[in-house]
């Protein structure tokens, strides 16, 4: 499978009358996009805005972040199985508006969180302060069920990314990155002496606001599935997960999965990268046991020497992570875990309550309870009232001047468990 990602560097973003990229400036046809999104009768209103790195702007509550892209060759444009007809992802050519992002905003339920600060202290904690963001705030018609509401917002974000992405159709990319890998047999024949490494990517798949989709299939219903890494890098995986702000994998992070990129970089040099197993995280223990057995079985069938396991979320998925780790290590397959931790506000607690001796190699994305102080913004995109929710119901969290104290768990992408960000914890 061969995928060429053409990066068109975006240096600015503005709303206008047409959708285009000129000299790195992305212009979005405001009315055109609103009209396009309103084709969905469930949408009452759409409000578009832009947020640029360095501006004193706060976006809240963020639902998802999506990279705008356009398919140039092979497959279908958009998100196959969702916004377009089923097609094979991961082949051909795709242009991306590199440095731009569509950020969907809006409440499905009242306790939603997820903040992106574009400047200062808050900007350090989220990777999405460095992207030029087109914010899409969706309000829906009355009487929608929560499921329909969530779906409306999710699809609107994807459609917006598709609409904006078209601007890159006829633009020559600034940089082209090729992701190419033959069959497992071919690659193993090429690199017979390199250790075979799998990537097991855990996904939250537990119901409303806690879902992930592959080609539009709700991953709650699947057994762990083998994906070619190119498929995920090419729009096959979508986030429907809007409550684990700090450690969820947004659609953008699926499209640019950092573990896949960094494993790819070593493919043929230090390792033989076999592919990705998409691992659903179930609510039931039976589901967790089944999934961990299944991952081990796939790893064995593929002859893996090592598995990189990344978690999504916090709480019950910790059990899945350690189950997979234990089973693999006992079977002689090396594991490398990526997770985040709760060491308490003061950092004095033991990070993992459930410990496993087998978990010897762990990367930490940081302490989800670390408190950050965010100064007041000049402008708030989204729902200013959500800030009180985000502060999280403890004294002194929201000061009168608008200064906000919150735990990292409210900041989008801050403690990424696919290692997308550069935060960690160290013993002091």
């Amino acid at each position: 499978m061969k995928l060429e990602i053409g990066r068109i560097y975006i240096k600015d973003i503005q709303l206008g009358q047409e959708t285009s990229v000129k000299e790195g400036v992305l212009t979005v046809d405001k009315e055109g996009l609103i009209a396009k999104l309103k084709e969905d009768e469930r949408i009452k209103d759409v409000s578009l805005d832009v947020a640029k790195p360095g501006e004193k702007v706060r976006i809240i509550p963020v639902k998802d972040v999506i990279e705008p892209r356009v398919k140039i060759e092979g497959g279908n444009n958009g998100f196959p199985g969702v916004t377009s007809k089923q097609a094979q992802c991961g082949e051909g050519k795709t242009n991306v508006l590199y440095g731009a992002a569509v950020v969907t905003v809006g409440d499905v339920v009242g306790f939603q969180e997820g903040v992106i600060d574009m400047w200062g202290e808050g900007a350090k904690w989220t990777p999405f302060s460095k992207t030029y963001n087109l914010t899409v705030d969706i309000s829906v018609v009355d009487g929608l069920t929560p499921h329909a509401h969530e779906e409306t917002v999710r699809i609107a974000g994807l459609k917006a990314a598709e609409f904006v992405g078209l601007a890159g159709k006829d633009v020559t990319p600034d940089e082209v990155i090729t992701y190419e890998m033959g069959s497992i047999f071919e690659e193993t024949a090429k690199y017979p002496n390199l250790p075979k490494v799998l990537y097991a990517e855990m996904m939250i798949t537990q119901g409303l606001l806690h879902d992930t989709y592959i080609y539009g299939v709700n991953a709650q219903t699947i057994l762990p599935a083998l994906l070619h890494p190119n498929e995920e890098l090419d729009n096959a995986v979508i986030s429907g997960n809007c409550v684990a702000a700090c450690d969820k994998i947004t659609t953008y992070q699926h499209q640019n999965n950092s573990v896949i990129e960094d494993l790819y970089a070593q493919h043929g040099k230090e390792i033989n990268f076999l592919g990705c197993i998409m691992v659903p995280e179930h609510t039931t223990l039976a589901g967790k046991l089944r999934v961990s057995d299944y991952v081990l079985k796939l790893a064995k069938m593929l002859g893996a020497d090592a598995v990189v396991i990344s978690e999504e979320g916090y709480g019950n998925p910790d059990s899945d992570l350690l189950m997979i780790c234990k089973k693999c290590e006992k079977a002689g397959i090396i594991t490398q875990l990526i997770t985040d931790e709760c060491a308490g506000r003061d950092g004095m607690s033991q990070p993992l309550a459930d410990t496993a001796q087998e978990a010897v190699a762990v990367v930490s994305g940081g302490n989800v309870s670390h408190v950050v102080t965010l100064p007041p913004a000049d402008k708030i995109i989204g729902n200013a009232a959500a800030i009180a929710v985000l502060a999280g119901g403890w004294d002194g969290a929201l000061l009168e001047d608008g200064t906000l104290m919150c735990e990292l768990n409210a900041v989008i992408g801050s403690t990424s468990e696919i290692g997308f960000h550069n935060v960690t914890c160290r013993l002091y």
Binding site: V109, G110, F111, Q112, E113, P146, I204, Q206, G207, L208, L209, H210, Q220, N241, V243, A244, A245, C246, D247, K248, E281, H282, T283, T284, L285, A286, G287, K288, E312, G313, Y314, G315, N316, P317, D318, S319, C342, G344, R345, S349, A353, D354, V368, S369, V389, G392, G393, W394, N409
Partner: protein, 122 residues
């Protein structure tokens, strides 16, 4: 289905029959689950949700299965760890009452997702 739902969520009590309703906090609910696990009940669903935000929910529902003669130590370990984690996240927070209805609804929806998994073997 031979399961019992241990819950402090009124919306769950209204909708299901096989409910042991706890008139109390999430912590009370988890402690009841722990006690029952030590009496041999099978832990069908994990006591915690998958996101920190749901850790702040004032409602929680956990599914237990049959009572066996022997305590399953995997279940015991999971419920003990869950209580520790739960306390760590919530000890310094106030209950979010303004969004009670939404929390009830999401807890119910997540419970139903769990109930729809593998009903027959329970």
């Amino acid at each position: 289905m031979k399961s019992i739902i241990i819950t402090n969520n009124p919306a769950v009590r209204e909708k299901y029959r096989n409910v042991l309703f706890i008139d109390g906090s999430v912590e009370d609910t988890l402690i009841k689950v722990r006690d029952m696990v030590y009496q041999g009940y099978e832990l069908v669903s994990h006591p915690l949700a998958a996101s920190i935000r749901m850790m702040y929910s004032p409602y929680r529902s956990v599914i237990l299965g049959r009572q066996e003669a022997k305590v399953d130590f995997l279940y015991a370990e999971i419920i003990e760890d869950s209580i520790i984690k739960y306390k760590r996240h919530t000890s310094h927070r106030k209950k979010d009452v303004t969004n009670s209805d939404d929390y009830q609804m999401i807890d119910l929806i997540l419970l139903e997702a769990a109930l729809s998994e593998q009903q027959i073997t329970w």
